[in-house]
Amino acid sequence: MEALLLWTVFPYICGTILIVATFYRFIYRGKSWTAPSTEIFEKKWLRIGSIVFHYGIIFAFVGHLMGVLIPIEVYNSLGVDDHTYHIFAIVGGGFAGLMVVMGLIFLLIRKFSFPRVKAHTSFGDYFTIVLLLLVAGLGTYMTIIYNTTVVAYEYRLTIGPWFRSLFTFNPVSGLMLGVPTLFKVHVVLSFLLFASIPFTKLVHMFSFPVRYPTRAPQQYRARDGYRKNEGNKL
């Protein structure tokens, strides 16, 4: 039952919401698609909070790629033994996790200590930060405390293969049953976070302007050409 509901149905529901609602918002509510900057109201705390958080989350993202998406067989064939892997994961992941958590705490404190920022923080903004804090806090705890005091848990044999199997539409949910509860909670909350992305300002992460360095500095557009192919939408 748990395997079916929590590790098969739930992830697919979250994934569907993520994809469908993201496209819906991009297409029909495009003007709400931005980075949620409040820099104009306050700079000092944002400087620390935002930079530490964002660089932290990018490291953490790369870490998850390495831990969850890359199969353990790849490491074995490269000759990276488990011990080396875990040392790297714990040090690197712990560092990234701490950055994320610290950054989020800064951002959260900033949200209710500066009246101008506070007045323009919606329920969605608090929800995002608190949920991120829960996910990242748990993740960091697992990495730094659990892994070193209880056991260096080998998620590359359970969570990793299960997560990848979701993409092949052939979920091996049974793998998740034996996972420690802490890890389970982390995974469930993460999926909730994914599902909430299209409803919050988090959508800005999909718009990272990768093409900027290669495009021409000056942009010209003809008035006539503007939205030429969008004719029927309006």
Binding site: R25, R29, G30, K31, S32, W33, T34, A35, P36, S37, T38, E39, I40, F41, E42, K43, L46, R47, S50, I51, F53, H54, Y55, P115, R116, K118, A119, H120, S122, G124, P198, F199, K201, H204, S207, F208, P209, R211, Y212, P213, R215, P217, Q218, Q219, Y220, R221, A222, R223, D224, K228, G231, L234
Partner: protein, 500 residues
């Protein structure tokens, strides 16, 4: 030669009376909505003074515009790679306090207050937080007419540069107004600063716009513009800027600020320019050469070759004719009395200024006895230090300013001789010679600057709609429907925003 046309503006500073009508009408049309309360697409600042936002000319702080390194143009705030690395926090962006915290008044209290001993007052109330502000400390024209005196004037970066001391005693000091809008530059650094490519310059009329669908709120344009004329709307989290009232200019009407200008200081006309030469012109080594190099980008609308090329490239007759009639062309190119604001930013701005003469003239006490040459030392020894005007309008080159002021003085002397008399013709000629201008030109100038009617001040061809393929479909459509729909702006993804 890639010919493009631009609707450009000239402001004749002598005639600005600092009434702020332009700012108010602009605000009423474009920026009185949540998120934009602190924004003035058009503002009029008293100079010397810090302007709006405070000390916007401090390019070391806001890092706007371009710099030249090894002969190549670079964004002063850093190129694309450094921008992407700084994208989570923009170190050079202005804060709200650099503008001001907008407020309204609690008018309801005047109506609802119970009977009491003291008269009820309308307390100022922040439009950002909704809290009362007991004591506003800065506003968009806090220092109007030198109100800040010696406390505020030194915040003006042009003043900091001056060698000589500026007297702040009221009987000795000087003052002028500087109305500002977006310059709709030929080499806009706002456009180059935008990681999303949301800012663009229109082919047809050179107006620089922000695509509200493409803007992602990365905010590098706000301080990337050295004139600080792109603003962050905190409600929609996107950038917005002066759009040269394009729905009006497309219909052949002047911008709202120009239409309503009480002093009639504004002129709008078409300039033809060679888009291929823009980059080169912006990259000349010495900032003092930028004025001349920008002039070299403009094309002569009477030159048959230019006309033929322009037509070939899709610029129609009415635009070419407008370019020939253009008051801007006359002032900038023919008489050379209009100058670009801060050419050293290398954006090649397209709103130019005729520097003010009147504060000099009020310095002359016995004008009726003055011989014509008497004006020459008056120009050199004017109350507004020439360096101050040069710092604004010619990258510190006082010879450029002097030339313009001599022309303006010559015009004054000539017209005075003609209408009132009492000026010795022989002596007048020396001034004319020094000013390097003919009588006919002076009289044309006097007409355009003094008496020109609406149709001479605003020569604006209608938008080139004949090239639109689906005119039938666009019939009756409003080009700004999305930006300000009648039912209000939707800012949150799945709910309706009510503003404050």
């Amino acid at each position: 030669m890639k010919i493009k046309a631009q609707v450009a503006m000239v402001m004749h500073l002598d005639k600005c009376i600092g009434c702020h009508t332009c700012s108010v009408t602009c605000k009423n049309v474009w920026t009185n909505r949540p998120g934009m309360e602190y924004v003035w697409y058009n503002n009029v600042e008293t100079r010397p003074g810090p302007g709006y936002p405070k000390s916007w000319e401090d390019t070391d702080r806001y890092k706007g515009g371009w710099t030249l390194r090894n002969g190549r143009l670079h964004l002063k705030a850093g190129g694309p790679i450094s921008k992407l690395a700084n994208i989570f926090y923009n170190p050079n962006m202005a804060e709200m306090d650099d503008f001001y915290e907008p407020w309204t008044y609690d008018y309801q209290n005047l109506i609802k207050s119970p009977r009491k001993e003291n008269i009820p007052v309308a307390r100022p109330k922040s439009m950002i937080t909704g809290d009362y502000i007991d004591k506003p400390t800065w506003g968009s024209n806090w220092d109007d007419d030198l109100a800040g005196g010696s406390e505020v004037v030194p915040m003006d970066p042009n003043v900091q540069k001056l060698q000589e001391h500026i007297a702040m005693e009221y009987e000795k000091t000087f003052m002028m107004y500087l109305p500002r809008i977006c310059e709709h530059c030929l080499n806009p650094s706002c456009v180059a600063s935008c990681p999303s490519g949301a800012l663009y310059k229109r082919d047809e009329d050179g107006i620089v716009l922000v695509d509200q669908d493409a803007c992602r709120g990365w905010r590098f344009c706000t301080n990337g513009c050295p004139y600080h004329k792109v603003y962050y709307n905190w409600n929609t989290h996107k950038a917005e800027k002066c759009n040269f009232c394009y729905p009006r200019t497309e219909a052949g009407l002047p911008t709202v600020c120009s239409e309503t200008c009480v002093g009639r200081i504004r002129y709008i006309g078409v300039l033809l320019y060679d888009a291929d030469k823009v980059k080169e012109a912006a990259s000349v080594e010495d900032p003092k050469d930028l004025y001349e190099s920008q002039l070299s980008v403009f094309l002569d609308p009477f030159d048959p070759e230019v006309i033929a090329k322009a037509e070939e490239q899709g610029i129609n007759r009415s635009w070419i004719e407008s370019a020939q009639e253009s008051p801007v062309y006359k002032m900038a190119m023919k008489w050379k009395i209009a100058l670009p604001l801060h050419p050293e930013y290398r954006t090649l701005p397209m709103v130019w200024y005729v520097p003010p003469l009147s504060p000099i003239m009020s310095h002359i006490t016995n004008e009726s006895q003055l011989s014509a040459e008497g004006y020459i030392p008056a120009v050199d020894d004017m109350r507004i230090p020439m360096q101050y005007l040069a710092s604004l309008l010619s990258a510190d080159d006082t010879t450029v300013i002097r030339k313009v002021l001599l022309k303006m003085a010559a015009m004054r002397v000539h017209m005075r001789a003609k209408t009132v008399g009492g000026i010795d013709d022989m002596k007048k000629s020396k001034l004319l010679q020094e000013a390097d201008i003919t009588i006919e030109e002076l009289e044309d100038m006097a007409r355009l600057l003094g008496v020109a009617k609406y149709n001479e001040r605003f020569v604006i061809p209608t938008g080139r709609r004949e090239m639109d393929e689906d005119l039938h479909y666009k019939q009756g459509a409003c080009s700004i429907e999305d930006l300000a729909p009648p039912e209000g702006m939707v800012t949150y993804p799945f709910e309706r925003s009510e503003g404050l």
